[in-house]
C-alpha cells in the first residue's frame, strides 16, 4: 500500500511517501518503526500516540490498530493537532 507522511511524521522518517505491505494499521505502524527507528517515538506499542493520527485514503480517520488495510489503500500519517 501507499503510505504518505506529513508534518512531524515526515520529519522523523525523512521521506514523504513510500510503499509498504501490512494487513492492519498496527502492522503498518510497526513496520514504519522498524524501517525508520526515529519514527518509533510517535507510537506506543501498535498505536499512534495521541498527538498523531492516521487517515485512510484521504477520507476517514482511523485509530484502531486492527483496522484492515488493502493493497490499494493509501494511508496518511500526520499530526492530530491542526490548530493554527
Amino acid at each position: 500500500m501507499h503510505v504518505e507522511l506529513l508534518g512531524l511524521p515526515r520529519e522523523r522518517a525523512g521521506v514523504a511517501e513510500l510503499e509498504l505491505e501490512a494487513d492492519t494499521l498496527g502492522q503498518l505502524l510497526m513496520a514504519l518503526a522498524v524501517r525508520f527507528p526515529s519514527f518509533s517515538e510517535l507510537i506506543t506499542a501498535d498505536r499512534l500516540k495521541p498527538s498523531f493520527t492516521a487517515n485512510l485514503n484521504g477520507d476517514r480517520f482511523i485509530s484502531d490498530p486492527r483496522t484492515q488495510l488493502g493493497k490499494g489503500d493509501s494511508v496518511l500519517i500526520l499530526s492530530a493537532d491542526a490548530g493554527g
Binding site: 508534518g7 495521541p50 498527538s51 484521504g58 480517520f61 492530530a80 491542526a82 490548530g83 493554527g84
Partner: protein, 580 residues
C-alpha cells in the same frame, strides 16, 4: 476594612477615561473573579459591566478592556498572555482577542487585573501607566508609524523597561480589522486596533512593580517544572520543530485548504509556499513568547529584509486563498500586515473576495487578480491607508459585499462579519458548526472543533448531530484556556485538562476549585458572550454560513457538501444542548 484580594489577583481594575483624564481603581468582587477567572471571561464581564452593548463599537463610550489573568506572572509556562475585549467594529458583536508576552506581565504588575479604557483623547496620544500612575503624552510624531517603529520609539523615549502595545496606520484609519500589536504579536481578530484608534490612542506603555502573591508558591513551582518538562514532549513537537505553517500541506492533502476564495479545497501550487519548501531557500530562526517553553514561532528571512513570523493562518490567507504561490510575496504580505497592524485572515479573506468580484466583472480593479502577489501587496497597502479600493476593503468582506451588490454576499467568506480562517467548512463539518455559532464569528481560536474532524469520532464530510456535543466540548475548553490564560498549544499534554486546570488554579489562588466547577465556569463564560451579543441585537439567523457553503458542494471534492437543512439542524441541536 477592605477585604484583601484573592491570591493571584489584585482584586481591582483601572478604569481610565482618556477624554477627561480621570482614573478610577474599581474593586472586583472575589465572587466575580472566581466565576469569570480572567482573560476572556473577566473581560466579557467587564464589558457588560462598563458598556452598553448596543452602542457603536467605535463610539467614545464603548469600553476597550485589557484583561490579565490569575496565572500571569506565575512560573507556569505560556501564562504570559492577555485578552483584549470590546465590541467589534467588524461584527458588531463581542470580540475577544488574545496576545502574549511581556505586556501581560507588566500590566498585571501595575497592580490591577484589568484596564478599561473609555473616551477619546483630544489628540493622538500614548497612554502611559507607570506602576498604576496614569498619564497621556502626545503621540502625534508617531502618526502613521508602523507598530514595530512605534514600539521602538516609545521605548527609546520612555525606557526599555516599558512594555508597549500599539496600533499601526490601520488602527488610526479605522480599518475594521486592525490589530493591537505587542512585540511583533497581535491581538489580531475583530478590529480591536481600530477601537483603540477611535480613542485616539496610538499606544499603551506599561511598567510596574506590584506582584500578586501565590497561595501555594512551593507547590506551584513544582507543578510549573513538571508542566514545562512535559511541554518539551511529542505533544508540542509539531509547533516547536515546524510551526503551525506545516498544516498547509496536510490540509491540502485532505482537500480542506481554502483556495481562491473558497472555490476549491486544493491548491495545486501549495508546495511552493509550504514551510517544508521555504526553509530550503530562506533562513529560518525560532522564537517564543516570554515565559514560554514551546517556542512555536518560526521566522523566515528574505535576503537582508527583516524576518517574518509565519503562521498557518497568514500562509493560507495570503497564499492559497488569494491563489498566490510566490513565497516571497506571501512573506512580504505577512510583514506588511504586521507593520500596518492588520489581521492577516481578514485581509486575505477580503482581498480574495474582491479578486473573485473582479473576476466576475463586478469590480473595476482589473489589476486585482488571483495569483498576483504584487496585486495582493498593493491591496494590503491601500487597505491600511484606506486609499482607493482599500477604503472599501477596509470595511471587511460583509460590508464590501453590501456595496458591491450582485448577490456577492453569498460568497463573502465570513460569519457574523468575521472572515473565515483556514478550514474549509464543507470538508470539516464539525468546524462548520463551530464557525456558525461562534460568538465573535468564524473563529478557530474560540472553537477547536477541527480537532474532532481530525479524529475517528465523526465523518468529517458527513457529520451528524453526534458532532454537536464535541463542538460544545471544544468551545468550552477554549473558553477556559482563554480565561485562565494558558496557550492552547499545551492542550495535547493534558490527560484530564479540567482536573489539572483546577489544580493549577488552586496552587495560585488557594480556591478549592474542582474540575466540575471549571466545567461550569467554562459554560458561564461562553454564556456571557452570548448575553452580550443578545443585548447587541443578535438573532438566530446569524448562526449560519454564507450561501456558497450551503448551496454548492466543494468543487474539488463533490462529496464534501453541507446542506442548509443539515446546518440548521446542527445549530438547532447546539442551541438545545446549550439550553438557549
Amino acid at each position: 476594612m477592605e477585604k484583601p484580594a484573592p491570591f493571584g489577583y489584585h482584586g481591582c481594575y483601572l478604569r481610565i477615561d482618556v477624554s477627561s483624564g480621570s482614573v478610577d481603581r474599581v474593586p472586583i468582587p472575589e465572587s466575580v473573579l472566581r466565576q469569570f477567572l480572567g482573560g476572556s471571561g473577566l473581560g466579557a464581564w467587564l464589558l457588560l459591566e462598563e458598556g452598553n452593548p448596543s452602542a457603536d463599537a467605535l463610539a467614545p463610550e464603548a469600553p476597550l478592556v485589557f484583561a490579565f489573568s490569575p496565572l500571569v506572572g506565575s512560573p507556569l509556562t505560556t501564562s504570559a498572555k492577555f485578552a483584549v475585549v470590546s465590541k467589534s467594529p467588524l461584527t458588531d458583536r463581542i470580540n475577544d482577542s488574545l496576545a502574549s508576552s511581556g505586556f501581560a506581565i507588566a500590566g498585571k504588575r501595575c497592580g490591577c487585573d484589568a484596564i478599561v479604557i473609555v473616551g477619546r483623547a483630544a489628540e493622538l496620544s500614548a497612554l502611559i501607566i507607570d506602576d498604576g500612575c496614569v498619564r497621556l503624552e502626545s503621540a502625534d510624531a508617531l502618526r502613521g508609524a508602523a507598530c514595530q517603529v512605534t514600539e521602538a520609539e516609545l521605548k527609546a523615549r520612555l525606557g526599555a523597561d516599558y512594555q508597549i502595545a500599539s496600533i499601526g496606520p490601520a488602527g488610526e484609519n479605522a480599518v475594521r480589522y486592525a490589530t493591537i500589536s505587542h512585540d511583533g504579536r497581535h491581538a489580531g481578530r475583530g478590529g480591536s486596533g481600530s477601537v483603540l484608534g477611535s480613542k485616539n490612542i496610538k499606544a499603551i506603555a506599561l511598567r510596574g512593580t506590584q506582584r500578586s502573591e501565590w497561595a501555594h508558591p512551593r507547590e506551584l513551582t513544582e507543578y510549573s517544572r513538571s508542566l514545562s518538562k512535559r511541554s518539551f514532549g511529542p505533544a508540542t513537537a509539531k509547533y516547536r520543530e515546524l510551526g503551525t505553517a506545516t498544516n498547509l500541506l496536510t490540509f491540502n492533502r485532505l482537500g480542506a485548504l481554502p483556495t481562491r476564495n473558497f472555490q476549491s479545497g486544493r491548491f495545486d501550487e501549495a508546495v511552493n509556499i509550504s514551510p517544508e519548501e521555504i526553509r530550503t531557500t530562506h533562513n529560518r530562526t525560532r522564537a517564543s513568547c516570554v515565559a514560554c517553553t514551546i517556542g512555536c514561532e518560526h521566522i523566515y528571512g528574505i535576503g537582508d529584509e527583516p524576518g517574518v513570523r509565519l503562521e498557518y493562518e497568514s500562509l493560507f490567507a495570503l497564499g492559497s486563498l488569494c491563489g498566490v504561490s510566490n513565497p516571497n510575496a506571501v512573506l512580504r504580505a505577512s510583514r506588511l500586515c504586521d507593520d500596518l497592524g492588520i489581521d492577516t485572515i481578514s485581509a486575505g479573506g477580503t482581498i480574495a473576495f474582491a479578486m473573485e468580484c473582479v473576476e466576475r466583472g463586478w469590480l473595476d480593479e482589473t489589476w486585482l487578480t488571483f495569483g498576483s502577489g504584487d496585486a495582493m501587496l498593493r491591496a494590503i497597502e491601500l487597505v491600511g491607508r484606506r486609499e482607493g479600493i482599500g477604503d472599501l476593503l477596509a470595511e471587511g468582506s460583509r460590508r464590501a459585499a453590501g456595496t458591491i451588490g450582485h448577490g456577492s454576499i453569498a460568497f463573502a467568506p465570513q460569519v457574523k462579519g468575521l472572515e473565515i480562517p483556514g478550514y474549509e467548512p464543507r470538508a470539516l463539518q464539525t468546524m462548520a458548526l463551530g464557525f456558525a455559532v461562534g460568538a465573535r464569528g468564524a473563529d478557530h481560536n474560540r472553537s477547536g472543533a477541527y480537532e474532532v474532524d481530525f479524529s475517528d469520532k465523526v465523518d468529517r464530510r458527513h457529520v451528524t448531530l453526534d458532532a454537536v456535543r464535541y463542538a460544545i466540548e471544544t468551545e468550552d475548553k477554549a473558553a477556559l484556556m482563554d480565561s485562565l490564560i494558558i496557550c492552547k498549544f499545551l492542550r495535547g499534554i493534558f490527560e484530564d485538562f479540567y482536573t489539572e486546570a483546577a489544580d493549577m488554579l488552586h496552587r495560585v489562588s488557594g480556591w478549592d476549585t474542582t474540575a466540575d466547577e471549571l466545567r461550569e465556569t467554562a459554560r458561564r463564560i461562553v454564556g456571557i458572550k452570548r448575553q452580550f451579543n443578545l443585548m447587541a441585537g443578535w438573532t438566530v439567523d446569524e448562526d449560519t454560513l454564507p450561501a456558497r457553503f450551503l448551496d454548492t458542494p466543494l468543487p474539488s471534492d463533490p462529496t464534501a457538501a453541507i446542506s442548509r437543512q443539515q446546518l440548521e439542524a446542527l445549530v438547532s441541536e447546539y442551541h438545545r444542548q446549550r439550553g438557549w
